[in-house]
Structure formats: C-alpha cells, structure tokens
Symmetry: C3
Subunit: 401 residues, 3 copies
C-alpha cells in the first residue's frame, strides 16, 4: 500500500487506524453510469459530448485503486467497474470501501441525514468504526427558516436548535465561506440588521441562504454554542464544493449552496487568509477553528494555524483534489505546526472517496516522511510521532474523542 520503504515504526504509524475528522455521507442506493459520473465530477453537470468524467484525476484513481477492492484488475474500464459495482450492490460496495479505509472513527456532516445518504451511525457500522456527528449550521437554519413565522421566533429557534443539536455532536460546521466568502467581519452584526435580514429571509424561506448578515449571525451563533459546550467549529474553505453540489451532498443541497451564478462565483474569496481578522476576534474565546480542505490555499491555512493558537488545518481534500495529496502534504509539513494538522477524507457521495482519501493520505505522507528521513532532516522517531499526531492523536485531543 505504501509506495516507499520506511522504518518499521513509521510504517506502523502510517498504517494505524485513522480518525476521519470530516466526511459527508455517501449514497446508499445503486447508481447508474450518469449518476456515478456526476458524483465523481463534483461539477453538477454531465461531461461535454464526446467526453467522460472518468477522464479526470478522480476517475483514474477509482479505476486504479477501487477496482481491486471489487475483485477487479487495476485500471479496468469504466463500464467494467460500474457493472461489477452493480453486481455487488451498493451496500456491499460501501462496506468494502468504508472498511478498506482503515478508519477508527468517522465524524460525519449532519446533512447526511437526508434520505439517500448514509448517516453517521450507518457510516460507522459499515466501516467498522465509531461515528460522531458534525452539525452543519446552515442545515439547521434551513429547517428553522421553513417553520418560523416571525423574525424573533426564527432567531430564538435558531439558538435553541443549535444548542440542542450540538449536545449530540462533536463539532459544528459552517459552509458560509462557500455561500458568501470567507471575509467575515470581526465584529458581531447589529441586532437591528439581523432582525431586518431575518424578516427578508422569512419572506422567501426556501431560497438559498446567501445574505451575509444572516450568515455572519449564524456563524457567531455557532461560535457561542461551541464556546458554551467546549466544541470546535469547522469552517469550509478552498475550492471544494464551490459552484458544484459536490461537498454539499446530493440533490437539493446544491441549490442551497447557491450553484453556478450564485455567490460561489467568487472562488478567490474562499481563501482562508480572508478569515484572519475573524480568527483574531475569536482568539480570546478559545474556540478552536478548524479550516477544512483549503486547497489550493493550503499554505494560507497553514499560515493561520502557525499564527493563531486556536486555528487548525485539515490535511484533507475534496475528493476531486485527492490527486494533489503528495504535493500538498509536503507543503503543509513545510509550514504548519504538526500538532495543528488533522486527517479528514472529505468523503462525499461515493464510498470510494472515503477509501481513496485514506489511501492518498497514507501514500503521500509516506513519501514526504521518507524524503525527510532519507536526507537526515528528520529522525524516524519524529516521523512516526508526526504520522500518529496527524492520523489520530490531534483529532482525539481537539474533538475530545
């Protein structure tokens, strides 16, 4: 599984079970070719005529690495892969992939409770792992907006619901960065502005939430609940899920995220460097901020983690970006404190993505550590310790698992 030779202790640390501190649910149903292609693309659109989404970095990886888990030769053609997938059935495929990931605990976005996706408990059971929930705050808001009549009720309900859901979760998670950009203001929004925004919201509660005032209020509400319950808050960043339904898990969710033409039309605003002023404002509160799959702004995220004691960085990717793992992990090890890095699969839609993320992480970290040991820059003991920290120990400490 590992592409390089390593001292036994380092090898063991890399092959030890991982805590997957951030994933989304995967589909429970059997998928046809069109549906499967949409999920490997993350774009929300079919491939242009004459092309296929299998001709992508993720498509190649599925054929290479996931085929053998379905008893196929590596690099089997897409049609063969999909036929075998159908033959085995989604439940068996999901079981093989999730178990194959070698994960001891999945932390799963609560949006996965939506019908066709596996929820946290199911992910854990199929993967032979523990499982906990990450409360996506925009998901809570959607439900509250659908039921509240008055702005004050809406705000009260939001607070109550966040508190209630956080009681069963290990962290809160926000995708506000994908909805209105990560340049959140450092101060709390004024009560009057929030009431006005809530009234606008209730006039059209099924529209996607993109109002910066309300998103800003929502994030601060999440921070308050997180502080009270001693939980971290995850901030979605980078290109993952921008302008596509990918990370937002399944139909319907894509419109909630704005989709092409919405605020996601500004991927440069997903740069976590823009969170710096907000991070500085949160520092006195001591609420841990976890920056989720920040590629290609991972150096910026690493800078924040090196600067602020309460900021952490996901060594994870959207599934579509997993092929960049070797380079990105190397760049993170150059810049970030090792006690600030967390493994996450960012798995989404296909169980294959949970397996591929774990594989890519172990292989890429193996290459990075072997290079450092080979030049004498790191000792094997340090390498094994850092692999253990990133793979599970940091997550256990920060999420208090």
């Amino acid at each position: 599984m590992l592409p390089v030779d390593l001292p036994g202790t380092v090898r063991d640390a890399l092959l030890a079970p991982l805590v997957d501190h951030h994933c989304n649910g995967v589909r429970r149903d059997d998928l046809g070719r069109a549906g499967f292609e949409l999920l490997i693309s993350g774009s929300g659109s079919p491939a242009p005529p004459g092309t296929t989404h299998f001709d992508t970095p993720l498509g190649v990886a599925v054929r290479r690495w996931c085929g053998p888990l379905l008893d196929l030769e590596p690099h089997a053609p897409p049609a063969v892969y999909l036929a075998r997938r159908t033959e085995l059935g989604a439940a068996e495929v999901n079981r093989r992939m999730l178990a194959g990931a070698g994960v001891v605990a999945f932390l799963v976005d609560s949006a996965a409770q939506d019908g066709e996706l596996l929820g946290a408990a199911e992910m854990g059971r199929l993967g032979g792992a523990a499982a906990d929930e990450l409360v996506r705050v925009e998901h809570i808001e959607r439900d509250v907006a659908a039921s509240a009549q008055l702005a004050v009720d809406y705000l009260d309900d939001l607070g109550e619901e966040l508190t209630a859901r956080a009681a069963r979760a290990v962290a809160l998670k926000t995708v506000a960065g994908a909805l209105c950009g990560l340049d959140l203001e450092a101060g709390r929004p004024a009560r009057g502005a929030v009431i006005a925004a809530a009234n606008r919201r209730l006039a059209d509660p099924k529209a996607p939430l993109t109002d910066p005032v309300l998103l800003h209020y929502l994030v601060w509400s999440a921070v308050d609940v997180a502080k009270e319950r001693n939980l971290p808050v995850q901030f979605h960043g980078g290109f993952a899920g921008l302008a596509g339904p990918g990370v937002f898990g399944g139909p319907g969710a894509s419109s909630a995220a704005g989709g092409p033409g919405g605020p996601l039309g500004e991927p440069h605003r997903a740069d976590p460097a823009r969170l710096s002023a907000f991070a500085a404002a949160l520092q006195p509160l001591g609420v841990p901020m976890i920056l989720l799959h920040c590629y290609p702004f991972h150096r910026q995220a690493a800078h924040l983690a090196a600067t602020f004691p309460h900021v952490y960085v996901d060594v994870g990717f959207a599934p579509q970006h997993t092929a960049a793992a070797t380079r990105v992990i190397d760049e993170l090890l150059e810049l970030a404190p090792f006690h600030k890095l967390l493994y996450g699969s960012g798995a989404c839609g296909l169980a294959e993505t949970a397996y591929l993320a774990a594989l890519a992480h172990r292989r890429a970290l193996a290459v990075a550590l072997a290079a450092r040991i080979g030049t004498g820059e790191w000792s094997a003991a340090d390498a094994a310790r850092v692999a253990h920290m990133i793979g599970s120990a940091n997550a256990r400490r920060i999420y208090r698992l």
Copy 2:
C-alpha cells in the same frame, strides 16, 4: 528529446504532431542583440546596467535547446548564438524553429498581421503545418475606433467587423483581462452606459482601451458572435504580457495594452478565478471559454474547467514562463479533467519560443506521465491516450479543425 524512458505507445503519443491552439506571430526581420534581448525578456525594458536578459530562465533555454538547431553546441554564449542567427538569416532561423516544433496546425493571433510579424499563413508555411486565425477582438476595436465618427456607427461597425472577421477564423480571443482585470460582471452592460463610453472613446480613439464598460461590451459582443458561429472564445489570463509588451506582439501593441502604470498594475486581478461569475453567466449559452496561459493561477483555471462544462484550460505559458512547465503540467494533471486541457505555445516575437514551448511541453508531460506509470497509478494506455488528447485531439474537437 524526452528525458525519461516511457512505453513505446506513450512515447509515440508525445512525439506526435501537436495542434498549437494559441500562438502569436514571430518577427520576420533580423534582430540585433538589443532587439533580441527585449524579446526574450518580455518586460519591454533593457536589462539593468551590468546585466543581460540572457541571464533568465528563457535565456538559458535558448542557448541550451535552440543552439543545436542552429548547428551550435548546447550552451553557446549569447554572442555566438546571435552571430550564428544573423549568419543564417531570420527566414532560415524561423523555418528551423517552427518546423522543429513538430506542429500540425498553428492557431495564430490576428494581431500578427501587423507588418513586422509573420501572419498565420506564413507561420504555417514555414512550420510545414496548417494555420488558422484567432481574431483578437481588441485589435478589431482599435481599427473601428480609428475610423468611426459617431457612437452608434462605432457600435454597429464593431458588430459587423467582428462578424466578418469571425467568418474566417477558428476562435475569438480577448485580452480584456490584461486591460481591466478578469472580474467581468456577469450581466451585460446597459446600452446607455455603452453609448456614453463609446462617445468618450471616440474623443480619444488612439488612447489604449481600458474602459471597463467598453471592454465588457466588447467581450459580450465577441460572445454573441461566437455563439452565432459556433466558435470558442479565448480569454487571456495570468501574468503573461502584464505590464510588458510580450504577449501583445511587437511595438505599438505595448501601449495598446496599457504598459507599466496602466491597469496592468494589478496582476492579482488576472486570476481566472475572478472569471467565475462571468463563466456561470455564459454556461447556458454553451460558448466554450478557453483560459489562456494562466500561470501562476493555473490551479484556479483547472478548478473552473472542472466546474463548468464549457471552460477549457491552456496547458501553455508565456515564453518567459516555459521553465515552469514540469511543475505546472503536473499540477494540472492533478486537478483538471483531461478532456479540458489544450497544448498552446503562446509563442511570441521569436520563433525560438514556438520551438521551446513544444519541447518543454513534451518533456514535462513525459516526466509527469512516467511518474504516474512508475508508481502504477496510471496505465500506459491511459497515459498515451491523455497525451494524445492534450496534444491534439481536444483542440480538434473544440475548434472543429
């Protein structure tokens, strides 16, 4: 020519003739040292006292790789190289370099029709290749502004001229990103604002075009013509040509591009991520958008290509950036759909740049593919197929060659 061992099918695919989907004209005349140095620099300024533009990545590459095509040893000193160039004469040098590129078709920016640059037909003839034209819309606008008297005539003439020129071309091309930044608004500019801007323009028609309203209008006009004629539109992005005459091909053009102190003073606005909202607006029209040499924002370009079915990415560089090819091609293969990548030389001014771009492409792609085959991540068959797609097949499909 290739720096690594590869299976025969992959080697053949890499050495097969390329479609160069984007280049500029090269100079037809003999060049003295000062003129040659200006063209390898792309800065529009002589090197500071005590230095030479040969001490650059491009200068070293010219001596290393182009020398042998002029019957010199690799790494011959600049003076020897230039003496031999003069001895052979520009026509013979151009013939050797263009033919040496191994190109089956050149798509050439129409600005090359200006006197001292070779036009598309000449490029093709010297290079033993087919040749087609890319209509630079700012070039059309310059001519229209010079002759129109009234704003309404200006706008009518612009539409007519774009239509007429597009009839003989395979694509339109805009450098608006270098003139006013790539953050084009998603909506069309209002008629009144356009008329007002046209009036301002006609009051000073020889000034460089930097008015964002008019550039915005010009780009939308190009899109309309492209849709009607089923052509793609190329968008210039990245650092190439910013604040220098490089990509704008020859004297006079540099002032049209603003030059130092103009709007080119904001290279961070050449990030194609800023095109996202505009790309979303174009999606329903189905007009292919080709993002030209986006370095160092190629990951952002790859993200757009992965997100939008109508967006494509040039695996090409300004000549001054060719030395980055190995790293950049590797990064693009990590992130972009393979059916979205197109080889382009970005050749400009010197025929050497067409040869070096093709060489850098083949060598860099060879390294990237060999690494993937070596670790077993890709099959040789996939590698050969992807090399063929990037080298020519994608361009044939998109430009309908």
Copy 3:
C-alpha cells in the same frame, strides 16, 4: 553540508561566503524554554496545552542542524538542546551560529538597536563579517512621533531624520505592507491629507502606525531620500511577521506592527503583486525596490522582478518558512532573472535562524542546480555563475558594498 554531488566549481560557488542582504537582530541574553519557544514560533503565543512549538518545521530544523554546532547529536530532544544552550551561554551560541552561517557581510535592520537585540556591529563582530545598517523607516517615525509637537515639525523632523540616518546606511526598509497592505497608491498623498493625518497621529503618538495616508507618505519620503542618496528601498511582503511579532524583533515591536486583530488580519494584502502600480510609478526614478521574503507569493514577486528593471527579489524567508526553501528556490529559478535574486536570511530573534537560513539556502540551491545540470538544461559554468550572483555578487552591485 550539501545534499547532492556537484561539479567542483558549483560546489565552491555555493560554499563561498554569502552577503546576507536582510536580517534582523538576534537576542543577546540567555533564554528559558518559554522564551525560546516563542521565538521559534513567531506567533507571539505559547503553544496550546499539550503541544510544543518544537513540533514545527523550524523546531525540527533547530534540533537537527543547530544541535551539532553545540556539540550535540542531531535530533537531540528540546530539553537537551536548551540545557546545552544555557551551558554555553548566549554569547558563545550566537558566535557559533553567526560564524557558522558563512557570511561575509550582514545588512541588519536598524530596529535591532533596541536594547536586547544585537546591533549591526555586534552581529558582524560575532559572525566574523562586515556589517551595515538598513534603516527601518517606521522605526524612525516612531521616534519622531514621540517627540514632535506640531504636524509641520513632525513632517520636517521625519525628513531630516530619514536623511541623517540614511547617510550611515546601505538601504532603507519599510514594513508598511504588513501595517496597511501592499496596495500602495501610485500617486503621492496630498499635502492637506498628510497634515491632517499627522495631527491625528500626534494626538496619540504611542499608538501603532496604521494610517494608510501617513504610511504612504512615509514610503514616498523614504523613496525621495533613497533617490537622493542612491540607495535601494526594501519592501517587506509575504506572510512573515504578519499577526505575530516575529520579524518585528522583540517585545514592544509586536504592538507597533498591529498584532492580531489589527491590519495584519489581511494576509492576502501582503501579496507583492499589489505593489505593481506603485512599482510602475517608481520606475522613472530608478530607485531599486527590493521585495523581501514574499513567500508564499514568491512567484508574484518574481513576476515583478521580471517585469520592472528596478525590482529585485529576496530569495529569503521568515525563519518559520525556511523549510520551504527547496521548493521556493526552484520556483524562483523558473521565473525570475538571475541577476534579480538576492540571498537574505531574514534572521530574527535567534542566532540559530541566521545559521539555518544560510544552510537551507545552500542546500536548496544545490538541489535545484544539480537537477538542472543533471538533465543537461544548464551548464556547470552557468550554475556556478548563478550561485555566485545570488549568493553575493548581485547584493554587492545593488547595495554598492
């Protein structure tokens, strides 16, 4: 010391004494564990409970490379390292590290004159090197603001003091980019606005200077003095020192730099690409602009150096970014003119950082040159010449040492 085999001439060029064209003072006193950890972190905060700042790229490098200079085995534990450091005493440690750097001349930020840091003369003496001063203009301003009563006096004093201090220095240096962002306007600020800003400043002269008008005025004043005295101006950029006291050298300085929550909350505004319009405005004056440690925006800095004849790039890092040296030097050699690159340690606080920077530079450049020689792209003669240019010759020319 060098990790690869190289031809003798290249090896000699790499091992030849360096001109360190930019460093800060290092602490003269003995340091306890808490103080030492703060200085290797650069964040200004202790590591979170259960973690240590030694678990960072810089922490590992100190144990690996600096330990042997203190007669320890590589990779000795932090406690052993610090005990040995105390045993030898700060003066002896500083002497070993500074001398070990193999530097022939240190150019030292004038802020180092503050009590607990070694000044330029002391750095030179301990390091067996010449030493010169870089006048930090914000440092001058701080003193002038503390003593002036009226706005006109403040402005007069500023001009006089800058002129007086520049007479003894080899360059001026500004950290305005870290205080208000690098998007300086191209024009000079209006006299009236400056007077008004000066009055505000004198009402609260101990506050950190973050007023963009006044910083803008200060930078232009520095440029005027530099032009008169034929000196370069260094511009601080990139992430170094942002939101932390790191590069600003010692207690007190951190508040002057804004600190978390101040203007440093916008690291994306430290991108030197934003200096382009200002650089274009300075081009006619011929005042050299030196872009200091621009990581992770080094490609942007290289682009400016390739575009403008008067712009130069530091091949240097904040100490916390030194682990990225191999990748960054390789990327700079792809893009920047070789006569525009300057070695600088960016050393700060700990003498270890001066030693590690020199070591990282030599090792990283060795790897980059060996790769180019190995593929035949560069000749050994070119490689040796470029190593010499970056290591010392460019600095001697530009600073007229």
